[in-house]
């Protein structure tokens, strides 16, 4: 393929910015915050794979694989936490969990 690495990096940066915007804008809803984190991690994976393709090294792809394993662990724990919180207060709104007044 003859696309410059530069364009891949621009795509990854825009995706990361979208994920960040999702996490910041939906800060009242836990599930949409987690979706924003997923988008950001995907942008990072795209950066790793682009670098791996540019220099012909397998390391970038291996790191994206590690990132996938990390994400699945993170999502399973985070969603278990969401179920636990929903069982306590019947809500996934972060404003309902302000009893520590932080």
């Amino acid at each position: 393929m003859t696309v410059p690495l530069y364009h891949v990096l621009i795509l990854a940066a825009i995706l990361f910015a979208m994920g960040l915007a999702c996490t910041v804008a939906w800060r009242a809803n836990v599930i949409m915050m987690l979706i924003g984190i997923e988008i950001m991690l995907n942008a990072v994976m795209l950066t790793f794979v682009g670098g791996s393709a540019q220099w012909g090294m397998a390391d970038g792809q291996i790191f994206s694989l590690m990132l996938m394993a990390l994400t699945s662990a993170e999502v399973s724990l985070a969603l278990a936490m969401v179920v636990y919180l929903h069982r306590r207060k019947q809500s996934v709104n972060t404003d309902d969990f302000d009893s520590m007044k932080g």
């Binding site: 393929m1 003859t2 696309v3 410059p4 690495l5 364009h7 891949v8 621009i10 795509l11 825009i14 995706l15 990361f16 910015a17 979208m18 994920g19 960040l20 915007a21 999702c22 910041v24 804008a25 939906w26 800060r27 009242a28 809803n29 599930i31 949409m32 979706i35 924003g36 997923e38 988008i39 995907n42 994976m45 795209l46 794979v49 791996s52 393709a53 540019q54 220099w55 012909g56 397998a58 792809q61 291996i62 694989l65 996938m68 394993a69 994400t71 699945s72 662990a73 993170e74 999502v75 399973s76 724990l77 969603l79 278990a80 936490m81 969401v82 179920v83 636990y84 996934v92 709104n93």
Partner: protein, 161 residues
Amino acid sequence: MEAILFYLLAAVTLIGTLCAITARQAVRAIVYLVTSFFSLALIFYLLGAPLVAAFEVIIYAGAIMVLFLFVIMMLDLGHPEKMETPRLGDWWPALLLLAAILGSLVILAAGHPQAPNTGFVEVTVRQFSQALFQRYGVAVEIISMQLLFALVGALYLGRRR
């Protein structure tokens, strides 16, 4: 040909993600995100990473998104009236961040009008597997431990008391 395909897939990814982060229902956001992940997997394939592309479809679109969907349906969060959409006042910090990142991108792109157009080198599955299990064998073990701990933690959080 492949370059045109790359730009098309990039457009699909960006539009899908944009629809996902502005969707009014969580289930719709998940479905848009699955579309975006499929086109991202094709981009990985074009970048010479067939294994990562396959794992993207299997693990991301197939397992993680289904886990999200499962939790949304189990907790009955699919109704749009139950989910509070962000007001316009909630969007402005996000738009500020987005504008800052996009502005810096535009400035960077204007500074380098001709990007060097070197071809990509494909990493074969054999090279990938050899590097994974020879040089990064310890990392594989640590990742498996981490997945085990996540399993135990999820069981602990999810038990009935």
